[in-house]
Every structure is written in C-alpha cells, then in structure tokens.
C-alpha cells in the first residue's frame, strides 16, 4: 500500500495515543442529543398495538373507539399503509436460494410473531397514544404456530409462508477434503456434542427511537434515528416511501448503544416515517422496554450437532457439524437473517490448520421475533463449536489445551493463506497471541492452584479460545448481493479561516469513540492540535457517502479514508504555502497549526487560510487553492480483513447452587495498528462483558406457543457491575497491509470469543465431576442438571 509515510512518528501524531474523547464532555454534563430529546412543533407521538399471538389471522381491527379517544389524531392499520409503503423482502442474491416473504410495517392479514405491529396510534402525547391503542378491538384468530426451530422443518409443522411449502429459508453446505475418510481412520479419537445457543438480544440502554419530519412543500423527509447506517436508511425510505433519494435526510446524533440492533429495518420505524408523510407533521416513536424486547432483533438461536476427530499428537484431523438456526418469520431487511449462519460456516475452525471440514447450515422460519445480525455475528457459535470440541478432545486424549492449540493453530509465518472454508487470511498472529496470553495470565501457576483447590472441593476452571474476527468488510459482504449498503466510506477535511479543521465522515458514532479517532487521525496526519478539529458524523445531508458503523469497520475503513483525506489536504496546503513563502513544498511540513521548515514556524495555518479566503489578490492568478479534500476508501484485495485474538476465562462453579463466578478474564487482541489504546481496550472489555452475558445470563425465554416470557429488564438478566471481573487486555500489533493506517476492527472480538472461553472454563471445572454442559446461557439450573442434582 502506498501513501503518506512517516505519519506515525511525527511529534503530535496522536495515532497510538490514548487521547480522551472530546465529545464525552457533553454526555457528562447532560447535554447529549438523543432522539427522544428532540421536541418539534406539532409533533405527534406514536404507540403501536402489537400482536399478542405468535401466529394469528387478523379478521378485523375496530379502531373507532381509539380514534375518538382524547388527543388522538389518527389511527393507521396495515391496510392504510398499502400503497403508501412498498413491501420489502430480506434476500441477497449472493446467498443463493435464500427466500423470504414481502413484509409490511404493519401486519396486513396475518400476524406472524408476538410483538408484530398491527396498528399505530398517533396522538398528542405518548400516554394518550398508548391509552388509545388499548381501545383498538382486534379480532384475531390464533392459528397453529411453528415456534421451535428444531421442529419447524417437520412435515407436520405449520408452514409460515404457505407459498414456500416449508419453513426452510436457506441452506448451505461447505465440504472440504474427505471428512468421512478422516473420521473412519483407526488412529483417531472422536468427540461429538450437541451445542445449544439460546436467543438473546442487545438491550441497548437507549431503546430504538425515531423522529420523522415531512415537509410536503418540498416533498422532503427528515428522519432522526438512533441508528448506525444513515445512508442505508436514506435509500430504504426513498425506495419504500416513493421519495427521491436526495429528498431524504437521515440523521443519527447521539446513539445510546447499538451493538448491531440498530442497523435493521423495523416496521415501527418505517411506519413512523410513513405516518409523518401521510400527516405532514412530525411523528416521534420511542420504543418502551417491553417493545424493545419484543421487536429489537434477537441474536443466535442455534442448535449444532458437531464432531471432531483428533490424532494421538493432538492434531485435528476433521471437523464436521450441522447448524440449525431459527430466524423468526422473515429474513430481516436488508441485511438478511442468513448472514449469521453463513458466518458460522465461514469462521468455524478458521484459526486452525484444518484439511477436512464439513459444515451444513440451515436457516428456518419460525413464529418468534426476528433474528439477525448482532455484535459478533456468528462468531460466538463458530468459536464455541471448534474451541469447545478442541478442549473436549484435549480432555479425551489427555493433552493440555494450550499445547493442543499450539499444535493446531496456523503458524504466524504461514500467511497469506486461506482457511478450510476458503476465507483469505493475512497478517495474523495466533501463536504469538496465545503465548502472550499464557504469560499474562500466569497459566502454570493457575493450573497448580486449580489442582490444589479441587482437592479441597473448590471447582475452578480455566477455558480458552483462539479466534478470528471479521472486520473491515469489502463489497463482498453485502453490496455484491444487491443490498444498499456501502462498503466504502468517505472523509472530508476542510481548513477553515481560523486555522481549525472541520472534518466529516460517513462512519458513525454510538459510543465507540469514532469521532475521537477521526479527530486523532486528522489532527495527526495534517498537523494541528487535536483541539482544533471538529467532527461531524451521522447526517446524510453533510457527510460523504458511506456505509456507517457495523462489522467493526469504523476505524479500519473510515479511519483510512480520513488519513487519506488529511494527507491530501496537507499536500494542497503545502503547495499554497510554497508559493506564498517562495520555497519548495518538499522542504515544508505542517506542525502544531503552522507551516514549518527546517528553521521553524514560517506561517500559521490561519494566516494561510485567511490569505486564500479573503485576500486572493495576493496570490498568483494561476494558483487556485482548494482548502478542502475528500477521499474514499474501500478494501479491495480481501473480502474481509480478519483480526485474531486469544482469550481465557477463569471461573469458579458453586456445585451446590450452580452459580458460576467469573474470577478473571484475559484478552489478547491483534487488531493491527491501535489508534487509541484506551478506546480499543474498552471496546474489548465491553465486548467481553456482553459475551459473558450471552454465556451465563442472557436469554429470551419463550413459551411453547411463542410468548416471550421475560420481556422486562428485571427478568432478562444483563451483566451487572458486581458480577463482572476486571478484564486484562493485551495487544499484539500486526498492521494490515491493505491500508496505510494498518488498523483492523476491534469492536466485536470480546463478544465473539468470550462465550467459548467461559463455556470451556465451566466444563473444565465440571469435568472432574463427570459433567459437561453445552448449552448457553449456562444458567444455575442447567449446571445443576448437568451435575445430576435436579
């Protein structure tokens, strides 16, 4: 990769420093700008009537009492939106054979999950809208539902979309090498397990929220939302509400957590935009927590039959699994709900040297809330399958789990290469990361302590994971399949008259520190103090076109675009400076807000900019300075830029209560060049805690007939401070060669890896008692069942 060299070694480079996030000031002082903070003249508030049944015919909705209720301005049903909203279908052409049915924001004649919006009330206050929604008389006829993914393909299961003839949405098979022959070898030992991964969800502390404004005089929609991908939503509203794309503005200011939850097309949000258009006045919708549990996408929901064959030396000879995943009644639009299973097939075993690999994935419709991409899409499943079986096999052949990984992990000098599933890999460091991990955690001492405590009836376990994370995706992820999802991102840098930099970028901020690292890169590469940089993200009217923040791409892709733009602006400025100072641009640099040469500061940037902007008469007429530069960047040589990590969990299992206490957690991460160590560490920690949540606590519990039983924050358990350990984070830095910046993503590794490490640790604790557990979350009840105590 060619480009500006030496940017990392300059004084004030910022890249690599734990610069504090400037925009935390306003959040700390209560001056955040979240969607629910917006108040507009004549704004109405929306409340939804949602289906109480998992599957029901809608015979009629009598809205007369609701319409007459105090404060109500309008009540809309599915029928009212026909012709207003073009139905949407969540398929992608590169996921061959994937099918899903057309969806409308409000169900039209059939409700297909508990929580599906049926009608929308628009009133002067949310309270009045809710009162009126309760007055809608819904004549619903519950019909048999296919709730359980494991039985949804049975011949007698109710078919959710009769036109498809079955509940199968998609299936894919990867078959590499000769798996059957490998399992048939007489020198191998085989472990096989059924792994179950319950549903969980994002529980962003700020629920989904939207304020839609429509101005009929200009046919213009402005949609303020709590989300991650403004340009994607711009396309979606334009297409499905029949507006010109340039007449749709999508704004995402402060977002109270997203984790992938806020990157999808939700019926209630589309209905909010449609209602604003129909009524010509602003409409606000803020999901309450109950709605959020019922309608924010859920994650996981997999049952995996898996087996692994290993030889006497601990070498994995073959890996074979069958993954069944339930996605709800539709594939989510526009990213689809098949990506998670696709990732499981792509990523399982990817850290390891593996010749014989077979993976089958089936994605099935069911009458539950929709399942789709959530932080670390597919990763926790993929890592738990391979590393779970690896540690199981290690126990079976009596080999240490670290040693077994050393035997099987790809060698650090073996790249570029591909995984068994065909993923192109480069710049990874599994062996080194594992070594750093083992050293950091004091592995040998921990094992000794574990043995000593076991003798005293204290059951502690140590579990590992070696993992890859998909980051910096190329157009091969979505764009190739026809989705309106940009894989490239843009950055604009402008030198203002005062000598400050105004930068904007198409990646977005949900608390990761996107804006902070963009400022670091711009300030460092261009050469101004970071205080002189202001950053705009999350507004389709003003930022360059791009994909937003997802798949751990903000730093790697948005950051590289910013680096290139800042460098381009610097070259322009130096060209102007060279003319003004009558010197050679090659001898000039920009440092600390001034143009400098070997003898020191020659001119401040503000002098330069004021001359250009105000006193152009002082410049030669053939000099036409542009004190603004825009650059775009996309990954071209690889479908994804993988990172790697090695993590370990240390747990204690109380065999009387079944409670698991995570005592320690260590994460060694190689995300390439680290732009801001503090922010990366905190991304890893936050991710690990969500991973621990998925492994031990979090589950959307459904009744057999498809009722979500724990849709409150009191009943759905998210990790609390007192349950969580301090998490040690270390780095190996292998910059990616696909960019000058060299940064890969870091946002999802913790969530992707922690569940496998915790599961392995729990099983390490349980094994001497003759028990193991292969179901997440590993709740006290399940642990006691595994121990045969209940």
């Amino acid at each position: 990769m060619t480009g500006p060299a030496l940017i990392f070694d300059k004084p004030n480079a910022y890249i690599g420093q734990s610069t504090p996030r400037a925009d935390t000031n306003r959040l700390l002082e209560g001056r955040g700008r979240f969607v629910d903070d917006i108040q507009l003249p004549r704004m109405l508030h929306a409340a939804f009537l949602r289906s109480p049944y998992a599957h029901a015919e809608i015979r009629g909705l009598d809205t007369s009492a609701a319409k007459a209720a105090p404060g109500v301005v309008r009540v809309l049903t599915g029928a009212d939106l026909e012709g207003v909203v073009e139905p949407y279908v969540g398929v992608l052409t590169h996921l061959k054979g994937l099918r899903s049915a057309p969806q409308m924001p409000l169900a039209v004649d059939r409700a297909r999950w508990q929580g599906e919006p049926l009608a929308m009330v628009l009133a002067r206050s949310r309270a009045e809208a809710e009162d009126a929604a309760a007055l809608i008389e819904a004549d619903l006829d519950p019909i048999p539902a296919a709730c359980d993914a494991e039985t949804a393909l049975d011949p007698d299961a109710p078919v959710i979309h009769p036109e498809f003839g079955s509940n199968l949405a998609w299936e894919r098979l990867v078959d590499v090498g000769d798996v059957d022959a490998a399992f048939a070898r007489d020198d191998v030992q085989v472990v096989s397990r059924t792994l179950r991964f319950g549903r969980h969800t994002g529980v962003t502390l700020e629920t989904r929220a939207a304020v839609a404004e429509y101005d009929p005089s200009e046919d213009r929609l402005t949609f303020h939302y709590s989300g991650q991908a403004p340009h994607m939503m711009q396309f979606i509203f334009a297409k499905h509400l029949g507006l010109a794309e340039e007449n749709v503005r999508v704004v995402a200011n402060d977002v109270g957590g997203s984790f992938g939850i806020k990157i999808h097309t939700y019926g209630d949000e589309v209905a909010t935009a449609a209602a604003a258009k129909l009524l010509g006045r602003p409409v606000k919708f803020v999901a309450d927590r109950y709605e959020s549990f019922l309608s924010d996408i859920h994650a996981r929901d997999h049952v995996v039959e898996a087996r692994m064959a290993v030889d006497k030396a601990g070498k994995i000879v073959a890996l074979d699994f069958d993954d069944l995943t339930g996605i709800g009644p539709y594939s989510m639009y526009p990213r689809t709900s098949a990506i998670e299973a696709n990732q499981v097939l792509n990523l399982t075993g990817a850290p390891y040297d593996l010749e014989n690999y077979r993976a089958r994935g089936r994605v099935v419709f069911q009458n539950k809330n929709m399942m789709c991409q959530y932080r670390a899409v597919g990763h926790p499943i993929a890592m738990a399958i391979c590393d779970g079986l690896l540690e199981d096999a290690a126990a079976k052949i009596g080999m240490d789990v670290v040693e077994m990984r050393r035997v099987n992990l790809m060698r650090d000098d073996s790249y570029p290469r591909a995984s068994a599933s065909g993923m192109k890999l480069d710049d990874l460091s599994h062996q080194k990361a594992l070594n750093v991990l083992v050293e950091t955690m004091g592995y040998d001492a921990l094992r000794a302590e574990q043995a000593e405590l076991r003798a005293r009836g204290v059951y502690r376990g140590i579990g590992f994971v070696s993992m890859v994370e998909v980051t910096n995706p190329s157009p091969m992820f979505y764009g190739i399949g026809g989705a309106p999802i940009a894989s490239q991102d843009g950055a604009t840098v402008r030198l203002d008259a005062g000598g400050g930099l105004r930068v904007s970028s198409s990646v977005t901020e949900q608390g990761q520190g996107t804006n902070a690292i963009l400022a670091q890169i711009a300030a460092g590469v261009f050469g101004v103090p970071i205080e002189r940089v202001t950053v705009t993200t999350g507004d389709t009217d003003t930022v360059p076109y791009g994909g937003g923040t997802w798949a751990s791409r903000g730093a790697g892709i948005g950051g590289e675009a910013m680096l290139q733009a800042a460098h381009a602006l610097k070259e322009q400025v130096l060209e102007v400076a060279a003319v003004m100072l009558q010197s050679d641009a090659a001898t000039l640099d920009i440092q600390n807000g001034s143009v400098v040469d070997g003898s020191g500061a020659r001119m401040t940037l503000s002098d330069l900019a004021r001359t250009v902007y105000y006193r152009g008469n002082e410049l030669p007429s053939d000099l036409k300075p542009e004190l603004i530069a825009t650059r775009h960047y996309r990954v071209t040589d690889f479908p994804f830029v993988f990172t790697n990590g090695a993590m370990a969990a240390h747990v204690e299992v109380d065999t009387e209560t079944g409670l698991v206490k995570v005592l320690n957690f260590w994460a060694v991460e190689d995300c390439g060049r680290v732009i801001n160590p503090k922010l990366v560490d905190e991304q890893v920690r936050g991710g690990v805690v969500q991973g621990i949540g998925g492994a031990l606590y979090e589950e959307c519990i459904y009744s057999e007939d498809g009722q979500l039983m724990n849709a409150t924050m009191a009943d759905y358990l998210v990790p609390m401070a007192v349950e969580m350990p301090d998490i040690v984070v270390r780095h190996v830095e292998t910059p990616t060669k696909t960019s000058v910046l060299g940064a890969k993503g870091a946002g999802e590794a913790g969530t992707g890896g922690a569940p496998a490490a915790v599961m392995n640790a729990v099983n390490d604790a349980l094994r001497p008692l003759g028990a193991t557990l292969w179901q997440m979350p590993m709740t006290p009840e399940r642990i006691l069942k595994a121990l045969g105590k209940v």
């Binding site: 922010l679 805690v689 401070a721």
Partner: protein, 158 residues
Amino acid sequence: MTTHDITITINGEAITATVPARRNLVDFIRQEAGLTGSHVGCEHGVCGACTVEVNGTPVRGCLMLAVQADGAHVTTVEGLADTGRGHRLRAAFQTHNALQCGFCTPGMLASALEYVEGGGTADRTAIREHISGNYCRCTGYQAIVDAIVEVIETGEGA
C-alpha cells in the same frame, strides 16, 4: 384524568405545572423542565438511567410520581454541571473512558457521587456493589470502577 398543580425546584429553578397524576418525575424533568440529561431506560426501576437527586437522596425518577415530588428540590446531571459539583468524577470518567454511549452516565454519576460523597472506600468490590443498580451495556463497568477509585484515592472529594 385527574390533574394536579405542582411546583418542583429543579437545579434551583422552581417549575410550576399542571400534570396528570400518572406523570412520573423523570418525564416531568424531561418534558416540563426540558432537562433531557436524565434518561429513561426501562421505566420500571431496574436500569438506573433515570436516577436523580430528590432532597439530597438519589431516587429513580421513573418510580416516583411528579406529584410526590411537589415542593421538593431536585438535582439533575445538568445541575451538577452548572454548580461544578462532581467535577472530579466527570474528569475521571473522561480520562478512564468510563462512558461510551453515555446513556447510562447521568444515572451512573448520581450513584457514583452518592458513593464518593458518602465516604465510600476505594474497595473495588464495594464500588461494584454500589453501582450494581445502574446498568451499563457498553463499558463492562471496569472503567467506571477505575474512575471512582481514582477520585477516592486522590482524596479531594468528588
């Protein structure tokens, strides 16, 4: 619907309004006073995002009705910023990146302030216990604990 005329002093400013009996305090603060720094995460007393000070004690603004706060003095995150109270905590939150999205932060600060001003020790477990009524979905809590520990160890108050 029954309504009541009430006056609540928020950050030193008396606000009088006619409110329905069912309006909770945090909605009053956000809607009547226009102070949107206090957040709503669950509306059933679990997440702590709505925590504000009522007559000097942290209270879940979603569990108290506005009419119950008639005549009370309320301090919100904006009020803390205005008076400078808690400035060391805010600085430590920034240094340690003890907030990501910042949605939990107003409530978290209120609980942290109670702990530090109440003479809490720098014991990490005790701090974790104290803030366990405040959910944070982003940080994993460690940075928040680090920030509180630093403020206590500096020994100059919150």
